[in-house]
């Protein structure tokens, strides 16, 4: 596994949490999620990465979907957090905080 693959693996785990966090603020459809993630340069991801993650979250019951009329073209699928997804977001947020605090301590350059 090359360095790029490792970075991709690292980001994939975080992206899932990022998607949960964005959906916690309101429902969104796929392309919109890609765009909202893109507003944070470190999290920018292609549709090819985001859609499979959404499919996985859906399968795991972390999101509910519904179809809403779109002004341009056929109905779109909107995603929002389920109760499970919200619980998973809470748990993941706690572990993320703990992890990032530990990692920051560890990676901090010693003077």
């Amino acid at each position: 596994m090359g360095r790029d693959d490792r970075v991709a693996q690292l980001r994939k785990g975080v992206l899932e949490l990022a998607i949960l966090a964005i959906l916690d603020r309101g429902e969104a459809y796929g392309v919109q999620l890609v765009e909202l993630l893109g507003r944070h340069p470190g999290l920018a991801a292609t549709a090819g990465t985001v859609y499979p993650l959404l499919a996985r979250l859906d399968k795991a019951g972390a999101v509910h979907t519904r179809w809403l009329e779109s002004p341009s073209g056929p109905p779109r699928k909107y995603y929002r957090l389920s109760a499970d997804g919200r619980a998973s977001l809470r748990a993941s947020t706690a572990s993320w905080r703990e992890l990032s605090r530990a990692m920051n301590e560890l990676l901090e350059v010693q003077p």
Binding site: G26, E27, A47
Partner: protein, 337 residues
């Protein structure tokens, strides 16, 4: 359990690794056991758990969209195709890549799901299990009938013309579409079989409408190519009269370019694959939209196409984050479900 037992049980679980990786992992384990003074399962876990950790650390997760080997960047697949890879490579709208590694052998094949998305026939996340399950039965039957019908028609034409087919028929074509190889007329039967076998394969009972549709689509495109090849041969022997002998076609400008039918049918084969998969999927989508109340004009005041939607009604902290219960879509009173 002594050290050797522990190592032997770990070794038995590491069959998937390359022998070099396995040997290195087992050597490391032997060193660790010396250091620990024995196989302390409170530290190492059971042999099976330890082996799983080694496997996780040394292997990449199996991504069905990726080929096993990529020498010089060319994907080569030698595993027997399974339905997960069939779907991930032939029809995965979520993957925007138009080409995916071939299901078997070297090189690439078309990801028709990405083609359907580019043609605006589908959105990348339109196809899920609910939609596939909602594909009407009649559409599933029709999809599976297409390859059967095409290959049966080709067989029928071949049977009807069989008496007038000469003993030697073209079996290969020049770039210009003229015959450049000849063989016995039994080769026509072989060409027909190339269409019939996948058509029968598509009738096998497999779980999941997605797998069935993709099998039908692949079989239908194979049937179209087989039929086109048969048509090219039959047209050549009809136009060229009673069997030109090998070699006479090479310089005779009067020999028709019927071989061009084969490349000309490639777009048709692609379109057939798309139609056989996408039309039933869209029927399933419409059924889901109807059931979920999105097919009407509810929510007609929905925002414009520039990516605006419920999420733009204050995602950036405008709404109090402690408000409960939260409304995910202030514009829409309730959830239609």
């Amino acid at each position: 359990m002594n050290d050797d037992d522990f190592i032997a049980r770990v070794r038995a679980q590491l069959t998937g690794l390359s022998s070099a990786d396995r040997q290195r992992a087992l050597d490391d384990l032997a060193d660790a056991l010396v250091e620990l003074g024995g196989p302390d399962q409170a530290v190492l876990g059971a042999p099976e758990e330890y082996a799983r950790a080694v496997r996780d650390a040394l292997t990449e997760p199996d991504d069905p969209a990726r080929a096993r080997w990529t020498p010089l960047g060319l994907p080569v697949e030698v595993r027997v195709p399974d339905d997960a890879r069939l779907l991930a490579r032939s029809f995965d709208p979520r993957n925007p890549a138009l080409l995916s590694p071939r299901l078997f052998g070297g090189g690439w094949a078309v990801n028709w799901g990405a083609v359907a998305v580019r043609l605006h026939l589908l959105r990348p996340d339109d196809v899920d299990e609910e939609v596939l399950a909602a594909v009407p039965r009649t559409a599933m039957i029709a999809a599976r009938a297409v390859p059967l019908a095409v290959s049966a028609a080709a067989l029928g034409v071949l049977a009807a013309r069989w008496r007038s087919v000469p003993d030697r028929v073209p079996t290969g074509w020049s770039v210009g579409g003229r015959p450049n190889a000849w063989g016995g007329r039994g080769s026509l039967v072989a060409t027909a079989v190339v269409g019939v076998v996948p058509a029968l394969w598509a009738q096998l009972p497999v779980p999941g409408n997605g797998e069935r549709l993709v099998r039908s689509g692949r079989a239908a495109s194979a049937a179209v190519l087989s039929a086109a090849s048969l048509a090219a041969t039959l047209a050549a022997v009809r136009d060229a009269g009673p069997g030109p002998m090998p070699g006479t076609g090479a310089h005779g400008t009067q020999v028709p370019r019927t071989g061009l039918l084969v490349p000309a049918s490639l777009p048709l084969a692609g379109a057939t694959m798309l139609a056989v998969v996408v039309l039933p999927v869209r029927a399933g989508l419409r059924a889901v939209w109807r059931a979920r109340g999105a097919a009407g004009d509810a929510g007609s005041q929905r925002a414009d196409a520039q990516g605006r939607g419920p999420h733009d009604d204050g995602p950036d902290g405008a709404r109090s984050r402690s408000t409960e219960p939260r409304s995910n879509d202030p514009r829409q009173g309730g959830d239609p479900r």
